[in-house]
Each structure stands twice: as structure tokens, then as C-alpha cells.
């Protein structure tokens, strides 16, 4: 068996875990953004016909799971594990969605990095021979996150321009051992980085160093340069964090400016509601699954997806703690790489 580790923090997949299908369900604001036409379903009612924001978030996730299975022409019993996570306390959006599904379930919490955390673990489960097919999900919900992390949704306040809007949306992705690609080829697992930012209304600045650390580690471990990838995509640094990340990369000796973007920047039309851009587990999950995934068949051959998470809670910031952050990178390629693999 081929060596599955490379450098300090990188794993190599050796058995062709492939993304078989993706599905996305998003809210109204996301459905009015630049990615609107790529989503499978736009739900205009933030409650999605339910009584609470939390139930609505579970329903967004369930809808995406069902759609992903439908697209992949698989049944529940053919899925060996489901990995999913969200931002709510005790990750209830995922747990309560999984309650409706006859699939063995792993609940994940990586804040907004959950999507690539799930892809990494799902890829490893397949690569380790423990599963043939797994489902990876991630969800977030603007109002549910707002009331838990910040203020009641009807409170009339003005946020600073560094604040971000939690994406209402969920994505589900089916990974399989046998598939035509695109393939997960490598992943660099992030370390928790805290650069001393304590303002929860400025999470882009808190997460940028974590994203850069993981990306630089990925280049060091694999010996690749930015030009190996057609695009490097961070999760939800939004406009404030993206600029910082680009500059930090330059300081590390990597110029990524011609091939770098961020899902938090891509998901919304900038306005007074969205401020610096999108955030939340759903952000990188829905933007990758709707917009970038099809592009892997056309324009792009290799992408590095780096979902970024701010690991704070209302308790920790009220107690004056700084914001630790994490980012996991997954290399996704149209063709299986030749040569050293």
C-alpha cells in the first residue's frame, strides 16, 4: 500500500475517492446572490414551513441529502456513513436531520471549516476501506446563528463593516470509492491558530492566519506551488479576511493573487445586510457544491478548497477570550494525478 502521509500535516488518498454528486438548498438572500442559478433549490421562507429556525435548518440539510442521493441514484442502505456538522449548540441541526435518516452518523464540529473536515474524514473512511460510499453535509442558518451567537433577530442594531452574514443553506455531497471523478487526492489538516483577534464582528481577520498556515503547510508538504492549482478557494474569510490572507501568503513567499478567491465574497451581492460577506458552515459547502463542482468538468482541473472556521462561543468571547481558528484544505482534481501517486 502506498504511503498515505506526506510531510507534517498532509494525507494522500490512494484509492480514488470521488465526488459522485452534490446538492444544495439555500435561503432567499443567497438565492439573490451571484451564485443563484447554480443552487438546486432556493427556499424563500426562512422558516421553511417549520415552527423554529433550528427545525428549518435541519430541513434545509435533509432536503440537500435527499437531493444528493437522488442525483447519485443511490439508496440510503448504500451509504455507509454520514458526516455532518453545523453551528448550533450540540450540532443539533445535523443530529436532528440524521434522526430522520437510516444512515450511521458522525456529527462534526469545526465551525465553518466543517465542510472540508467532513470531506477529509469521508475521504479517509473510503480510502481506509471502511466505507464504499459516504455522505458529507454541512449547514448553517442566518437567524438560528444570529440568536445563538449575537442578538435576537428583530433587534434594531447596526453592525460594523467587518461583520459577516451567516449563510442560510445546506449542502450534501456523496463520496464514493468508484466514480468518474472529480477525485479527492490530498488533504492538509489544519492546526488551531489564534492570532489574538477577539472581536466576533471581525472573524475574517481571526481566520485568515489559520487559512494561510494550512495552505502554506500544504505547499511545503506536497512540494507544490500555487500554480499547481487552477484556483485556491477559502471558505468564509469574506472581503476583510481575503485581503489579509493574500498579503500573509505574499509574506510567506507565495503569490496567489491571480488564482485565489473566497466563498464568503462570492455568495452575496455586497449590501448593508451582507457587509463583508458570507460566513457559516453552509458558505463554503453551498458555493463549492453548486458553483465550483460543475466547473471541475469544464474550466478547472485542480482546486484547493480550504474551509475556515472560527472556534468561538458566546461564552468565550464574553469572558474576554481571543478567537482560535482552523482551516482544512482538500485538493480536488478532475483527473487522478499521475507520477508520484
Amino acid at each position: 500500500m502506498a504511503e498515505k502521509r506526506l510531510g507534517e500535516d498532509t494525507v494522500l488518498f490512494s484509492s480514488f475517492p470521488s465526488i459522485i454528486a452534490t446538492a444544495t438548498t439555500v435561503g432567499k438572500k443567497e438565492g439573490e446572490g451571484p451564485c443563484a442559478k447554480y443552487f438546486d433549490k432556493v427556499v424563500r421562507d426562512p422558516l421553511y414551513g417549520e415552527g423554529t429556525w433550528e427545525k428549518a435548518e435541519s430541513k434545509f440539510l435533509l432536503e440537500s441529502v435527499r437531493k444528493a442521493l437522488e442525483k447519485s441514484r443511490l439508496t440510503y442502505d448504500q451509504i455507509h456513513f454520514m458526516f455532518s456538522g453545523d453551528l448550533l449548540n450540540q450540532i443539533t441541526a445535523s443530529n436532528f436531520a440524521a434522526r430522520e435518516l437510516p444512515i450511521p452518523f458522525y456529527g462534526l464540529f469545526g465551525a465553518c471549516s466543517t465542510f472540508t473536515e467532513g470531506l477529509t474524514l469521508g475521504g479517509m473512511a473510503i480510502d481506509g476501506g471502511f466505507a464504499q460510499r459516504v455522505l458529507v453535509g454541512a449547514s448553517s442558518h442566518y437567524q438560528a446563528a444570529e440568536r445563538q451567537y449575537r442578538y435576537p433577530t428583530e433587534l434594531g442594531i447596526q453592525k460594523p463593516p467587518t461583520a459577516q452574514r451567516t449563510v442560510t443553506g445546506a449542502a450534501a455531497v456523496v463520496l464514493g470509492k468508484d466514480g468518474p471523478g472529480p477525485f479527492l487526492t490530498a488533504a492538509t489538516i489544519g492546526r488551531v491558530i489564534d492570532m489574538g483577534i477577539s472581536d466576533p464582528m471581525n472573524m475574517g481577520s481571526a481566520m485568515a492566519p489559520a487559512a494561510v498556515h494550512t495552505i502554506v503547510q500544504h505547499f511545503k508538504d506536497t512540494g507544490r506551488n500555487p500554480d499547481y492549482y487552477d484556483m485556491i478557494i477559502t471558505g468564509d474569510l469574506a472581503s476583510v479576511g481575503k485581503v489579509l490572507a493574500e498579503d500573509l501568503m505574499k509574506k510567506e513567499g507565495y503569490d496567489v493573487s491571480d488564482r485565489y478567491t473566497d466563498c464568503g465574497v462570492l455568495i452575496y451581492k455586497p449590501d448593508a445586510d451582507t457587509l463583508a460577506g458570507g460566513s457559516g458552515c453552509g458558505c463554503s459547502a453551498v458555493v463549492f457544491s453548486s458553483y465550483f463542482y460543475p466547473l471541475l468538468q469544464e474550466e478547472y482541473r485542480r482546486l484547493l478548497l480550504v474551509s475556515t472556521g472560527a472556534l468561538l462561543s458566546p461564552t468565550t468571547y464574553q469572558q474576554g477570550e481571543t478567537i482560535p481558528a482552523i482551516a482544512h484544505a482538500v485538493a480536488i482534481e478532475r483527473n487522478w494525478p499521475e507520477g508520484e501517486w
Binding site: T153, L155, G156
Partner: protein, 151 residues
């Protein structure tokens, strides 16, 4: 609240990141707050004048005027309009008494789903609570000083 101690590297990053973050546009925010806050107060004055015109003294009219403005703030919160005004006007709609009403009705609406006791009852003053606690404490302190000087 204890602020976390930062290392030199963290301090340097924080300063660098802070120096590069976009600032709220102070001029625009102050102007909008002034105009919207002024409009809310002018409306309050109109209500006060009405109560005086129907025969109340200026002192008597104060109570009913506050009640009308609170009702208005609560109603606009319930209709989902006050949060939009707040997003636009900032302090202009937070400082007047309508903002106080918003700060109580918003959590009451939000936490109704957790029931009337542990939801509405326990969390209604989540935002306004600190204002009440320190407002009353200050009033008590000032009253005490007044009493000590004049006794």
C-alpha cells in the same frame, strides 16, 4: 471580564489587521442617526402636543406620550420593521424610547419558542437588563448623594 494576554506576535498581527480593516463611515452614521433620531423625537413632540391640546398639563402628558411611543416601537418590532430602521439609523433609533421598546420586544419574540417562562419571561430583559440595572443603581447613588448633601 479578563482580557486574554497576547504574545508579541499576536499583538503585532492584531495591530496590522486592525490598521487594515474598513471603518464605519462616521460622517454618514452620525448624520443619519441625527436625522432619524430627530424625526422620532419630533413625532414624540407631536404626540405630546396632542395630549396637551386635549387639556392635559405638560407634566401629565409625559406619561401617555411615552406609552404611545413604546407602543409604536413594539408594534414596528413585531411587524419586522424596526430592525431595518435600526440597521439604517444605528443610534438614531436605539437611543429614543422606541429603541428601548425594541430591545425588550425583540428578545420576547425571539425566545417565545422556548415557552412563556424560560423563554419570554427569563430572556425578555436580555438586552435591556443591563441598562435597567445600571440605570437604577446610578439613580440610587445620585439620590443618596442628594440626601447626604441636603439632610
Amino acid at each position: 471580564m479578563v482580557m486574554a494576554k497576547l504574545t508579541r506576535e499576536q499583538k503585532a498581527y492584531k495591530e496590522w489587521a486592525d490598521s487594515r480593516k474598513p471603518r464605519p463611515s462616521l460622517g454618514r452614521n452620525i448624520a443619519v442617526a441625527f436625522v432619524v433620531g430627530g424625526l422620532i423625537c419630533a413625532l414624540g413632540q407631536g404626540v405630546l402636543n396632542y395630549f396637551i391640546s386635549i387639556g392635559m398639563s405638560a407634566k401629565e402628558a409625559g406619561g401617555p406620550t411615552s406609552a404611545v411611543m413604546i407602543l409604536l416601537g413594539a408594534l414596528l418590532t413585531g411587524l419586522g420593521i424596526y430592525d431595518r430602521i435600526g440597521k439604517f439609523a444605528g443610534a438614531g433609533s436605539i437611543v429614543p424610547i422606541t429603541g428601548f421598546a425594541n430591545s425588550i420586544v425583540a428578545p420576547a419574540l425571539e425566545y417565545k419558542r422556548e415557552g412563556y417562562v424560560m423563554g419570554v419571561g427569563a430572556r425578555m430583559f436580555q438586552i435591556a437588563g443591563p441598562v435597567l440595572v445600571y440605570g437604577m443603581s446610578t439613580a440610587w447613588l445620585v439620590g443618596l448623594i442628594h440626601w447626604l448633601i441636603h439632610k
